[in-house]
C-alpha cells in the first residue's frame, strides 16, 4: 500500500513507541497535522511557542529516559526550536525534532518561511538529516531515534520538505540499524577496570564525582551499590542530582560554584577521584589548575571527547556507566578481602564529617521577610521528595539544588550546560504529560517564568495539574548577586520589580493564583496550593537581596568559598568572613 510521507512519519513514530508529540503547526507541516487529526493514537501536545515544545519534550525525555519528539513548521517554527535544541545538546537529552521545510525545488530560493535549519542546527545537534527522497524516510527516522538515544544521547533534527511530506511511496520500516561510522562503545576495557579497582582499593581519600551520565544510563542502582560496598563519599553535579538519594549519609551534596563546603573540600583533598558520567565543566571545577590537585583520576564516560578535554585523566574508561560500574563492583569484590577491605577510609570519612559540621548549608530566617531557601525546604517537607521538580536558571535553581533532597533519578529537570532561562515551566509540562498521576512542580523566578509564560495557556487548556512556584525577589537574582559582589552593587538592568500581578495573571489564564508575602503564610500556601487538583500558581515574595552561598567566584579555586556578602565582612556579629582554606 502506498503511503504519503506524512503517514510514513506517523507510522514510523509508532514503531519507535512514540505516544506524545510536542509541537506547533504551520504552513508546510499542515499535511502532517492533518494525518495526526485522523490518527488519534498519537497525542499532540500543542504548546504556545516552539521553544516551549522543545523544553516540554526535554522534560518528557528526562523524566522517562525515552526520546522526546517535537514537530514544528519551517522557517520561524524551526528557528524557534534552536535554543531548546542547544539546551538538549549540552545536557545530553535525547530528542528527535521534525521540522517542516519548503519544497525541495524551492530550497535556497529564499521562499516564504524558509530557513536553513540544517545549517543552523549543525553545531547544536548530535546529528541532523534532510530528507531528500521519500524512500529514505523510514531509514532516516530509524537512525534518528537510534542516534538520539544511544551513546551520549542528544538531539537529532530531521528536516522534512513539503513535497516529500505529500509524496506517496512504499513503506517498509527497517528492523535494525547499522551505521558503519557510528558504533558507541558500551563495554569498558577490562584491564582499565581492573587498574581502577586496584587504585580505589589502595586509595586512602577517594571520592566519587558523578553526574548526568548516571541518569542517562540508568546506573543509579549500580552507583548506590558501589557506595554501599565501599563507603566512598559521593558528590553529584547539578545534572546528576537524584543519582544517589539526597538523604544518603555518604552524599556530600552538590560540588562546584555553589556546591557544599564538604564536597569542595573533599574533592580538593582527595587522592583518587572517580569521575562517572561527568565532563569537568567549568562551573564544577572552578580554577582548573587548582581542582583536586592531589588526585589520581579515573574517568568513566561514554563520550571519548569528554575525557581529557579539560582535565588530566590517569585511568580513562570509555563506555556505558551502568555496564562499567557493574564490572567495577565485581572486580572490587574479587580483589578485596571481605567487608574490612575499605575500613581504611574511616579517617577520611571522619574528616569529611568535620567539614560538614563546619559549614553546613544554612540561611538565617527573618520574621518579616520570606527566605527563598525556606520555601524550598517546606516544599521538600511537604512532598518528602516524592515528586518531579523542574527549575529555570538562576538563584532559585541553585537553592533548589542545595535544599531539596532528590531521592530518585529522573525527578530533577534543570538546564545545566546551557543555563536556559525559560526551560523549567515547559519542562514540567512535558514531565506531567508523561506522569499524569505524579506531582510535578516548576520552581522558578519571576524573570525566568516570564520567558515562557505563554505556556500557562497550555497547562490550562490541557488541565495539567502542574504546580508553579515563583520565588519573586524582584531582581534577576543571580545577576544582582554578581553585581553586588563584583560590580560594586551597581544593579544595571537587573531590577525587574515591575513584574505583572502574577495572581491576576494566573486568573486571566484560567488557573488558580496565590501569593505569600510573609513567612507565616508559606506553609499555608503550600498546603493549600499543593492540595488542589488543577494547575496552581504560587507566588512567594521573597527577600530581594538574599544570596546563594557558598559561592566560588568565577575563575577562583573551589576552596576559596565565600559565605557572606561583601557588606557583611566588616560586621563583627557575623562569623567567618571570606574563607580561604
Amino acid at each position: 500500500m502506498k503511503m504519503s510521507g506524512a503517514e510514513m512519519l506517523l507510522e514510523s513514530l509508532k514503531r519507535e513507541k512514540v505516544t506524545h508529540i510536542f509541537g506547533y503547526p504551520g504552513g508546510v507541516v499542515l499535511p502532517v497535522f492533518d494525518a495526526l487529526y485522523k490518527d488519534p493514537s498519537l497525542q499532540v501536545i500543542l504548546t504556545r511557542h516552539e521553544q516551549g515544545a522543545v523544553h516540554a519534550a526535554e522534560g518528557y525525555a528526562r523524566s522517562t529516559n525515552t526520546v522526546g519528539v517535537v514537530l514544528v513548521t519551517s522557517g520561524p517554527g524551526a528557528t524557534n526550536t534552536l535554543t531548546g535544541i542547544a539546551d538538549a545538546n549540552m545536557d545530553s537529552i535525547p530528542l528527535v525534532i521534525i521540522t517542516g521545510q519548503v519544497p525541495t525545488k524551492m530550497i535556497g530560493n529564499d521562499a516564504f518561511q524558509e530557513a536553513d535549519i540544517i545549517g543552523m542546527s549543525r553545531s547544536c545537534t548530535k546529528h541532523n538529516f534532510l530528507v531528500r527522497r521519500i524512500s529514505d524516510l523510514p531509514r532516516i527516522i530509524k537512525e534518528a531515534f537510534y542516534i538520539a538515544k544511544s551513546g551520549r544521547p542528544g538531539p537529532v533534527l530531521i528536516d522534512f520538505p513539503k513535497d516529500i511530506i505529500v509524496e506517496k511511496g512504499d513503506f517498509s520500516y527497517p528492523e535494525t540499524v547499522s551505521i558503519r561510522s557510528y558504533n558507541p562503545t558500551i563495554q569498558g576495557n577490562r584491564w582499565q577496570i581492573r587498574k581502577a579497582a586496584q587504585t580505589i582499593l589502595k586509595s586512602r581519600r577517594p571520592i566519587l564525582y558523578a553526574g548526568g551520565g548516571i541518569i542517562s544510563s540508568a546506573a543509579h542502582k549500580e552507583l548506590l551499590e558501589l557506595v554501599t560496598l565501599t563507603g566512598i563519599p559521593t558528590t553529584l553535579t547539578l545534572m546528576g542530582l537524584g543519582a544517589i538519594p539526597g538523604n544518603h549519609p555518604r552524599f556530600l551534596g552538590m560540588l562546584g560554584m555553589h556546591g557544599t563546603y564538604a564536597a569542595n573540600m573533599a574533592i580538593h583533598d582527595a587522592d583518587v577521584l572517580i569521575a562517572v558520567g561527568v565532563r569537568f565543566d567549568d562551573r564544577v571545577t572552578g580554577k582548573i589548575a587548582e581542582f583536586s590537585p592531589h588526585s589520581k583520576v579515573i574517568h568513566i564516560d561514554i563520550d571519548p571527547t569528554s575525557i581529557r578535554k579539560n582535565f588530566h585523566v590517569e585511568i580513562p574508561i570509555v563506555g556505558d556507566a551502568r555496564v562499567i560500574l557493574k564490572d567495577l563492583i565485581e572486580e572490587l569484590r574479587e580483589i578485596s578481602a571481605g567487608e574490612d577491605a575499605f575500613r581504611h577510609y574511616q579517617p577520611w570519612i571522619d574528616q569529611i564529617a568535620e567539614w560538614e559540621k563546619e559549614h553546613p548549608l544554612c540561611y538565617t530566617m527573618d520574621k518579616d521577610v520570606i527566605k527563598p531557601q525556606h520555601v524550598i525546604e517546606k516544599i521538600y517537607q511537604f512532598t518528602q521528595g516524592d515528586c518531579i521538580i523542574s527549575t529555570d536558571v538562576g538563584q532559585h535553581q541553585m537553592w533548589t539544588a542545595q535544599f531539596f533532597k532528590f531521592i530518585k533519578p529522573n525527578t530533577w529537570l534543570t538546564s545545566g550546560g546551557l543555563g536556559t532561562m525559560g526551560y523549567g515551566f515547559p519542562a514540567a509540562i512535558g514531565a506531567q504529560k508523561a506522569h499524569p498521576g505524579k506531582r510535578v512542580i516548576a520552581i522558578t523566578g519571576e524573570g525566568s517564568f516570564l520567558m515562557n509564560i505563554q505556556e500557562m495557556a497550555t497547562v490550562v487548556s490541557l488541565d495539567l495539574p502542574v504546580k508553579i512556584v515563583i520565588l519573586n525577589n524582584q531582581y534577576l537574582g543571580m545577576v544582582r548577586q554578581w553585581q553586588e559582589f563584583f560590580y560594586g552593587s551597581r544593579y544595571s538592568s537587573s531590577f525587574i520589580g515591575q513584574s505583572p500581578d502574577f495572581v491576576k495573571l494566573a486568573e486571566a489564564f484560567g488557573m488558580v493564583g496565590m501569593r505569600a508575602t510573609r513567612p507565616e503564610q508559606v506553609e499555608d500556601i503550600i498546603l493549600d496550593g499543593f492540595s488542589r487538583r488543577g494547575p496552581v500558581l504560587m507566588e512567594f515574595q521573597v527577600d530581594p537581596e538574599e544570596n546563594v552561598f557558598p559561592m566560588v567566584p568565577a575563575g577562583g579555586s573551589n576552596i576559596e568559598m565565600i559565605f557572606e556578602s561583601p557588606g557583611e565582612k566588616d560586621d563583627p556579629k557575623k562569623r567567618d568572613s571570606i574563607l580561604t582554606a
Binding site: 540544517i118 545549517g119 549543525r122 553545531s123 548530535k126 546529528h127 534532510l130 531528500r132 542516534i147 551505521i179 558503519r180 561510522s181 557510528y182 558504533n183 562503545t185 569498558g188 576495557n189 584491564w191 582499565q192 589548575a289 563520550d303 571519548p304 571527547t305 575525557i307 581529557r308 578535554k309 582535565f311 588530566h312 585511568i315 580513562p316 574508561i317 570509555v318 563506555g319
Partner: protein
C-alpha cells in the same frame, strides 16, 4: 592540563579523515574546526576509490592535547568513518601548484623561467607573450624552493590544491602522538 602532563609543543599534523560521501559532510567537518577553535592550514577533499566515501586530508597544528581533541571530535561526527593521524606514521605529502610568472620584466627572464621549470621537473601548461603558467607537484621543500626561485621574476598568481598525504607502505606506528593514549581510551577508534 595538570603539572604531570605539561603542555607539549605545538606542531604540524596531517589528519586523514574518511567520511561518508554525502551532502553536508564537508561543512560538518569544517564547522567543527571553527566552532572549537582548531586551525585548518589546508584541506583537500575528493571521493575515494570506493565512491561511497570521501577522503579528506587536513593539515592542522596544535599540541598533543589539541590534536587528541581534534581526532576525538572528528570521530564523534556521525558521518566520519575513520580518522588517521598521519603524523604517527612515516608518510608522504604532495601538493600541486599552478604558478603564473612574469617572463618579460627583464631581458632573459623568459629563458630563466623555462630553466627553473625544467630543474624542478615541472611543466609549462600555458604561455602568453608576457607570462608562463607552470604546474608543479611536490612536497613542502620542493614547493618552497621553486617559489623562491621564481620570486625574482615576479609571480603574478599562485593557485594551490592543498596537501594530500599517504602513509608509506609497511610502516609501523611510531611511538609519538596518539599512541600515548591509554588502552581504555583507544576504543573510540571505529
Amino acid at each position: 592540563m595538570s603539572p604531570e602532563n605539561p603542555v607539549s609543543e605545538s606542531r604540524k599534523h596531517y589528519i586523514q579523515v574518511i567520511v561518508e560521501n554525502r551532502f553536508g559532510v564537508l561543512s560538518r567537518v569544517a564547522g567543527l574546526f571553527s566552532a572549537r577553535g582548531f586551525n585548518i592550514d589546508s584541506l583537500s577533499v575528493a571521493p575515494g576509490l570506493d565512491t561511497s566515501v570521501s577522503q579528506m586530508t587536513i593539515e592542522t597544528q596544535g599540541d598533543d592535547h589539541v590534536v587528541e581533541q581534534i581526532i576525538k571530535q572528528l570521530n564523534k561526527l556521525i558521518d566520519v568513518i575513520k580518522v588517521i593521524n598521519l603524523s604517527e606514521f612515516s608518510f608522504l605529502t604532495r601538493e600541486t601548484l599552478l604558478i603564473r610568472v612574469n617572463t618579460n620584466s627583464r631581458p632573459g627572464d623568459r629563458e630563466e623561467a623555462f630553466r627553473i621549470a625544467e630543474i624542478f621537473r615541472s611543466r609549462i601548461i600555458d604561455s602568453s607573450p608576457s607570462t608562463y603558467t607552470i604546474e608543479v607537484t611536490g612536497d613542502e621543500d620542493k614547493i618552497e624552493a621553486i617559489l623562491n626561485f621564481l620570486k625574482p621574476l615576479g609571480i603574478k598568481e599562485v593557485i594551490r590544491t592543498g596537501k594530500v598525504a599517504i602513509p608509506r607502505e609497511d610502516q609501523k606506528q611510531s611511538s609519538r602522538g596518539m599512541t600515548r593514549l591509554a588502552e581504555g581510551d583507544m576504543s573510540f577508534h571505529r
